[in-house]
């Protein structure tokens, strides 16, 4: 009885193992069938076969209880042994690949983690970048300072509202042009020099005060600050900031003009004082000397000589007084309003005024008016022309045709009137400091009174201009009159 029980338990156990071992291969095959790509598929099949074979041996063991199929059982065992060894060999051969595959999987996981972290931080960065873009956009859009991006050639890439307002152009109009196109010509060279230094990497930023020409033609003064952004070693774009300083500049210029006027007035007063001291007190005191002397007698010859000088001396006093009156009128600019004068008209008028003697000298006059007109008191301009022209003829070289070049050019906000002659010239070493002073004469034998150039200088200075001379003895003189071009700020 005990044996029967033992055998039944063994049989049931064998059968249960067989069923279980039969189930495993089916599960493996289903697993393979479900996955699209399975590495080491053959290994799975070997396992399945091996387990199936093992199962078969248990089944045959159980069967031998009823049917003595010992040979078949032995055969199954042999097949199982062969299959298991094949599997072992195959497994040994595949082992390195399998380990590698596992390792790759590990590192992939590390990579994936790193990637996820990077993605997270990128997201933060994006948020920050977004915020700084927003910040920049806010500053850009609402800044009272003009902000503009320009390409390395100077074309406007982007401009904010303040820039547009300041320059008087719409954004669309500005983006079609360059900063060079709307920069005041007198400021362009300086600006371009800075731009060149920036592009060469010699300088990181620059700041300058410059003028732009607005769309309506008016001038706006800006304090410009520029930096350059580089990308991959190449200049990418300029960031320019423009502050409107027109009002400040205008006030400053007004102060400077007023200062210059005051200084002019002061030096005029000094000059006036000098003229009174020498040219009025001189003849007046000699009249006193004379009357003192005559009271005490003196020879008839002396009396006659002195009395003959009374008229000359009195005339000298009157003439000096007249000159002083004229000087004061010039300086006070009484009844001498500026108007638009044509240089050609002034030249014509002065030619008409020339003495016959000068006309006979038959001067050759070459005229080149690059600037044709100026706002200036008309009588003064005529007088300036007359004095310079008549001097050029008066101080001509004996036996030489006077050749006179008269011209105007525009230089740095000034109109320069040039009168050049081939006359006897002036020794500037000796007389340079007093050439425009009252009653200074430099050439004997000429009917000079030393008033012409003095009044000319006063007239020029009354219009905030200046006069310069360049001269070489026996070669000629060049007079340059700088008159402010007052239509520009």
């Amino acid at each position: 009885m005990k044996d029967v029980l033992n055998s039944s338990v063994s049989i049931v156990g064998d059968l249960l193992i067989w069923v279980a071992l039969m189930a495993i291969p089916f599960i493996i095959i289903r697993f393979i069938a479900r996955r699209r790509e399975v590495r080491f598929a053959r290994l799975y099949y070997f396992f399945a076969t091996f387990i199936l074979a093992c199962g078969a041996t248990y089944f045959l063991d159980a069967l031998t209880y009823w049917i003595p199929v010992y040979r078949l059982s032995a055969l199954a065992r042999a097949i199982t042994a062969i299959i298991s060894w094949i599997t072992v060999f195959y497994l040994v051969r595949q082992l390195p690949y399998a380990t590698r595959a596992l390792k790759a999987r590990d590192s992939l996981e590390v990579e994936i983690t790193a990637y996820k972290e990077a993605a997270a931080s990128q997201q933060i960065k994006n948020i920050l970048a977004q915020e700084s873009r927003q910040l920049f956009k806010n500053v850009f859009d609402h800044s009272p300072v003009g902000i503009a991006l320009l390409n390395p050639e100077g074309r406007w890439l982007n401009v904010n509202a303040s820039t547009c307002e300041m320059l008087g152009y719409s954004k669309e109009e500005l983006l079609k042009t360059s900063f060079q196109a709307i920069t005041h010509p007198d400021d362009l060279a300086t600006d371009m020099a800075y731009v060149g230094q920036m592009l060469n990497g010699e300088r990181e930023t620059y700041q300058m005060e410059k003028r732009y020409i607005r769309k309506d033609g008016s001038i706006v003064w800006a304090l410009l600050s520029v930096s350059l952004t580089w990308q991959e070693g190449k200049p990418a774009f300029f960031i320019s900031q423009l502050t409107d300083i027109t009002t400040k500049k205008r006030l400053l210029m007004e102060v400077e003009t007023k200062n210059a006027e005051l200084e002019n007035h002061l030096s005029s007063i000094n000059e006036f004082n000098r003229i009174v001291a020498h040219n009025l007190r001189g003849p007046a005191s000699s009249l006193i000397n004379m009357s003192d002397y005559l009271e005490k007698g003196g020879s008839d010859a002396d009396r006659d000589f002195l009395l003959s000088k009374v008229k000359d001396t009195s005339m000298l006093i009157i003439n000096t007084l007249n000159d002083l009156t004229q000087l004061l009128e010039i300086q006070l600019r009484q009844e001498k309003q500026s108007s638009v004068c044509q240089f050609r008209d002034a030249l014509e008028n002065s030619l008409h005024m020339l003495d016959e003697e000068y006309k006979k000298a038959a001067p050759v006059i070459d005229v080149q008016f690059d600037v044709e007109e100026i706002s200036f008191p008309k009588p003064y301009l005529d007088s300036i022309f007359y004095n310079l022209l008549s001097n050029a003829i008066k101080y001509r070289q004996r036996g030489k045709t006077p050749i006179i070049s008269i011209g105007t050019t525009a230089v740095n906000g000034h109109v320069v009137l040039t009168v050049k002659d081939n006359g006897i010239g002036i020794d500037l070493q000796k007389h340079g400091h007093e050439i425009f002073k009252y009653k200074k004469v430099f050439h004997k034998g000429y009917d000079s009174n030393g008033v012409g150039l003095f009044l000319t200088r006063s007239q020029v200075e009354s219009g905030n201009g200046r006069i310069e001379v360049e001269s070489a003895i026996n070669e000629g003189s060049v007079f340059r009159v700088y008159l402010p071009k007052n239509n520009l700020l």
């Binding site: 001291a277 001189g282 005191s285 003192d292 200074k440 004997k444």
Partner: protein
């Protein structure tokens, strides 16, 4: 006559002053000869010409400031550069119609200038000038 000085020079473009001054000097009896120059250029040429014989040059010079061609200042600038032979004793007075401090201060900058007188010059003023020369001598 016993002259105090042998020669005086007047450098001035004012003809009335020239005559009156010349007569004043003559009548004082203190100076033998009076040389007259009507501008600075004329005067400086004379001094340059006679630099080898300074005994013939004026010991007293009355110099005006405001003159054509070469004024008193330019004359002084040229004068101090002349290398006179031997020991040329001379006294230079500026005699001008200008009483401005500008001119007076400028005159002080010249060591060679002994005094500054504002026109008109009277006989008394000239005698004072001569007295101060006596005190120096």
């Amino acid at each position: 006559m016993n002259y105090k000085l042998s020669t005086a020079g007047i450098i001035d473009d004012d003809q009335i002053y020239q005559l009156v001054m010349k007569r004043t000097i003559e009548q004082s009896g203190l100076v033998k000869d009076v040389l007259q120059f009507y501008d600075g250029e004329e005067a400086i040429n004379y001094f340059k010409e006679k630099q080898q014989t300074p005994e013939a040059l004026p010991e007293l010079i009355l110099l005006d400031i405001n003159m054509p061609y070469m004024d008193g200042w330019q004359f002084l600038d040229e004068f101090i550069k002349i290398p006179f032979k031997g020991d040329y004793k001379r006294i230079i007075y500026i005699v001008t119609s200008s009483s401005t401090t500008e001119d007076q201060n400028r005159a002080k900058q010249y060591e060679v200038v002994s005094g500054y007188h504002v026109k008109p010059v009277t006989k008394d003023m000239f005698e004072q000038m001569m007295q101060s020369i006596g005190a120096i001598a």
